[in-house]
């Protein structure tokens, strides 16, 4: 069952990545050129999934949209991991009061969910994909700190790390040589789950008009646009919705599957 979860997840994620890669070399039609076909076509040939309100081939746009989704996810998760993982290891190393202060700070940060932070940043710096990604990334840092710290604490308490410390190995070396490889799977799980969350957040932001600009093919934006045509052309809203759901489901399943696969003892609630 758990194995099945992982495989379904991997299949979905692979499909999304493949779509993004394919879109670099080939799309059936130009995904940005207005009027590449008649407007609001139903699915058929040559437009497999139909065309949107600008006459753009939806399938092409979905393919290119995969790029946006991955782009948002990679940058957001990248920011979160690059900041969160070192801080998490540091928190494991700090004396009690320092760690306590740091964890309390992450508690405060939890009061700023990604979407709220993104709205706040959009209000100040203007709405854009970059603002959205940075906001989602920053808001995800605490999750990485917590996960990394939890993992690092157990690694630091292990015999081989004690031995290494006793042998005078400098702290950064221990962090890189012992801690990082042993918390990597935890970070992988968190990254996968955060990736899914980033895609959802970006979609919501695009719907609110605070995310990806309309010219860039993005699933969230497509979904928002399609809402207008729900009455006459319900399939317009179907494809991007399915794409988002599939990608989010994929990353979530990979995260869950990975967690159970790598460490069956890990519980879902930390």
């Amino acid at each position: 069952m758990k194995r099945a979860e992982l495989w379904v997840g991997l299949a979905l994620v692979t499909a999304v990545v493949a779509m993004a890669l394919v879109s670099f070399v080939w799309t059936p039609f130009d995904a940005t050129a207005v009027g590449s076909g008649p407007r609001l076509q139903s699915p058929g040939l040559p437009h497999v999934l139909g065309t949107d309100h600008m006459g753009i081939d939806i399938f092409s746009r979905i393919l290119v949209g995969a790029r946006s989704a991955l782009y948002v996810g990679i940058i957001a998760v990248g920011i979160a991991a690059l900041v969160g993982v070192p801080l998490g290891i540091l928190a494991a190393w700090l004396p009690r009061w320092g760690a306590e202060a740091m964890m309390r700070a992450t508690d405060v940060a939890y009061a700023f969910p990604a979407l709220l932070l993104a709205i706040l940043l959009a209000a100040v710096f203007g709405a854009s994909t970059e603002t959205a990604m940075v906001a989602i990334g920053i808001a995800t840092i605490p999750a990485f700190i917590r996960v990394t710290r939890a993992g690092a604490l157990s690694v630091l308490a292990s015999d081989y790390v004690l031995a290494a410390r006793a042998a005078g190995t400098p702290a950064p070396a221990i962090a890189v040589r012992h801690v990082l490889p042993n918390v990597a799977h935890l970070i992988g799980v968190q990254a996968s789950v955060s990736f899914a969350m980033a895609i959802l957040a970006e979609a919501a932001l695009s719907y609110l008009g605070l995310g990806t600009p309309p010219t860039v093919p993005s699933w969230g934006r497509m979904l928002g646009d399609a809402q207008t045509y729900l009455f006459g052309h319900p399939t317009q809203a179907l494809w991007p919705g399915l794409a988002i759901a599939a990608a989010v489901l994929g990353f979530n399943l990979v995260g869950d599957g990975l967690r159970d696969f790598l460490d069956p003892k890990l519980r879902e609630v930390a």
Binding site: T32, V34, H53, M54, P213, P214, T215, Q227, T228
Partner: protein
């Protein structure tokens, strides 16, 4: 010339530098279907318009009217900001003016029964309707009107209204129902402005609380304001004129046009004041349930070209020098298939125009085919000007129609060899700062909903950065001349800028109103008063 001076001269020429600000808060603001006295009745409707007496409401039945609108007022004082939302709900319905604009755009008496102007066109004498009274029973007298004019000039009112009232140098209360107003120079537009928010006559008792309570003399008064949701008006039982046909009139506000459509489709709304997503109009094609009214607005969706003028006192601007060549500007105009663009961006609704003027303007001239779509000719002009490899920055605000149009235009200009980099500017702040204030753009797209805004081309400091003495002269003469001179000179100005391809006028915004079956008397066209006048509306 200091910036402020430039603006003053702008004001003299009736320039509304803030017009775009208003305009763009998205077509949102065009949600101001007009103040028609007597809109053409939808076919087959037995009763319509102001002339037919209101059917006496059944005693127990509450007669209600619910109107869907887009932009919500930030304050209940329609004079506090230049947003169209306040006048839309309140003007003529709650607040009245000396004169009003009817559906044809003509001035009609309201609080003033009649008015005269001296031969030098500097002094107006208004005779007030002696019956007129505020909702608390105080009469609307000359004293109150004078106080309102003074309030616009010196109170915390919108700069736009202050500019409109700036021409007034004095008021004199002759008697309780007679008021003289003296102008510093003749002005054709002042009286028109007096039919809008600037001319609102508010009960002076209510000045202080105007932001949260109303104090008008109209047929309706405020029932309750639910910010973020609605403004509910109720019948003013003490109204001095023909009583309102409705016990309750509610303006409900929707940021999302789809939500408004859903509400209409579910039967919650009686009227969509202006359909913001024209592509959804087919949803209302069921004639048994809905009636669609297609009229016009004062709005021109314009692709501004940075003409490169750099008057003193304003930031230099960064327009591509190639755009100073009229051949390049013409080529850009001819490279764009505006019919196809209208189809894509606004579902084919609206009118193609060729200058900064809409068909309801008295001076309108159809110039839509002056520079017809001809990509070959465009290429030839570019070659002639030596700009075969032009790269331009198209910086639209982040508004749906603008970004859609930008996508379309980028694609079409690409076809004639102009590389277009689309860089969106967050609206309003970033766009106003970058495009409007600093002229840091080559091309941008925005809708200008202010009436008669061809005059903006007479201000070289305006973000078109268009400096043409012939236009400036024409606009000056128009402002100070008679009605006839005004019409002639404005037409002249509109023609010059069109021939000069100073901008690309993409299309005139339509006024798309959807009403529930049985609702009649809604004005077809939106006019410059910005009011959504419910006094003419009836519901079967």
């Amino acid at each position: 010339m200091a910036k402020s001076t430039a603006l003053q001269s702008g004001a003299r020429a009736r320039l509304r530098t803030l017009s775009v600000l208003v305009a763009a808060v998205a077509l949102a603001l065009t949600a101001c279907t007009g103040a028609g006295q007597q809109a053409p009745a939808p076919s087959g409707a037995p009763t319509a318009g102001a002339t037919s007496a209101a059917p006496a409401p059944a005693p127990e039945e509450t007669r209600t009217l619910v109107i869907g609108a887009t932009a919500e007022p930030q304050t209940l004082d329609p004079t506090a900001t230049d947003a169209a939302a306040g006048p839309q709900a309140l003007l003529y319905n709650v607040y009245e003016t000396l004169v009003r604009l009817d559906a044809a755009g003509d001035l009609k008496p309201l609080l003033a029964q009649a008015w005269d102007v001296t031969p030098d066109r500097l002094t107006y004498t208004f005779r007030l309707n002696p019956a007129a009274q505020f909702s608390d029973g105080t009469p609307v007298d000359a004293e109150a009107v004078a106080k309102n004019i003074e309030r616009i000039q010196t109170g915390t009112t919108a700069p736009k209204l202050k500019n409109q009232m700036e021409v007034v140098v004095g008021t004199e209360v002759v008697d309780a129902t007679t008021l003289d107003v003296t102008l510093s120079r003749p002005s054709v537009t002042w009286l028109f402005d007096m039919a809008g928010a600037a001319g609102i006559v508010m009960n002076p008792e209510g000045f202080d609380a105007a932001g949260s309570e109303t104090a008008g003399s109209g047929p309706l008064t405020l029932d309750r304001w639910t910010p973020g949701d609605s403004i509910a008006l109720k019948r003013n039982d003490a109204y001095w004129g023909t009583p309102a046909r409705f016990d309750e009139v509610t303006f409900r506000y929707f940021k999302d046009p789809n939500a408004m459509n859903a509400s209409m489709l579910s039967g919650q709304l009686d009227i969509i004041s202006n359909l913001q997503a024209p592509e959804t109009i087919d949803q209302f094609s069921d004639e048994g349930r809905f009636t669609i009214i297609e009229g016009s607005t004062e709005g021109e969706v314009t692709m501004a070209i940075n003409n490169g003028a750099a008057p003193e006192g304003v930031p230099a601007g960064t327009g591509n020098p190639a755009l100073q060549d009229v051949r390049v500007r013409k080529a850009i105009t001819m490279a764009i298939d505006r019919r196809a663009l209208l189809d894509t961006v606004w579902h084919g609704k609206g009118t193609l125009i060729g200058s900064m003027s809409v068909p309801t303007d008295p001076y309108y001239e159809d110039l839509a085919d002056l520079h017809p779509y001809d990509p070959e000719e465009a290429k030839r002009l570019l070659a002639e000007a030596g700009h075969e490899n032009l790269t331009l920055r198209l910086r639209p605000p982040t508004l749906p129609y603008a970004t859609k149009a930008a996508q379309f235009i980028a694609s079409q200009l690409g076809a004639v060899g102009i590389t277009v980099q689309v860089e969106e500017l967050q609206f309003p702040r970033q766009w106003i700062d970058t495009a409007m204030t600093n002229a840091d753009y080559d091309l941008t797209i925005v809708s200008h909903v202010e009436p008669r805004d061809v005059a903006t081309y007479a201000n070289p400091a305006y973000y078109w950065r268009y400096d043409n003495p012939a236009v400036q002269e024409a606009v000056r003469k128009a402002g100070e001349g008679t009605i006839e001179e005004y019409t002639t000179e404005m037409r002249n100005a509109a023609r010059i800028i069109a021939e000069d391809a100073a901008s690309v006028w993409l299309f005139a915004l339509p006024n798309l109103v959807v009403t529930k079956e049985g609702v009649t008397g809604v004005a077809e066209n939106a006019n410059s008063s910005l009011s959504f006048d419910v006094t003419t509306i009836a519901k079967a």
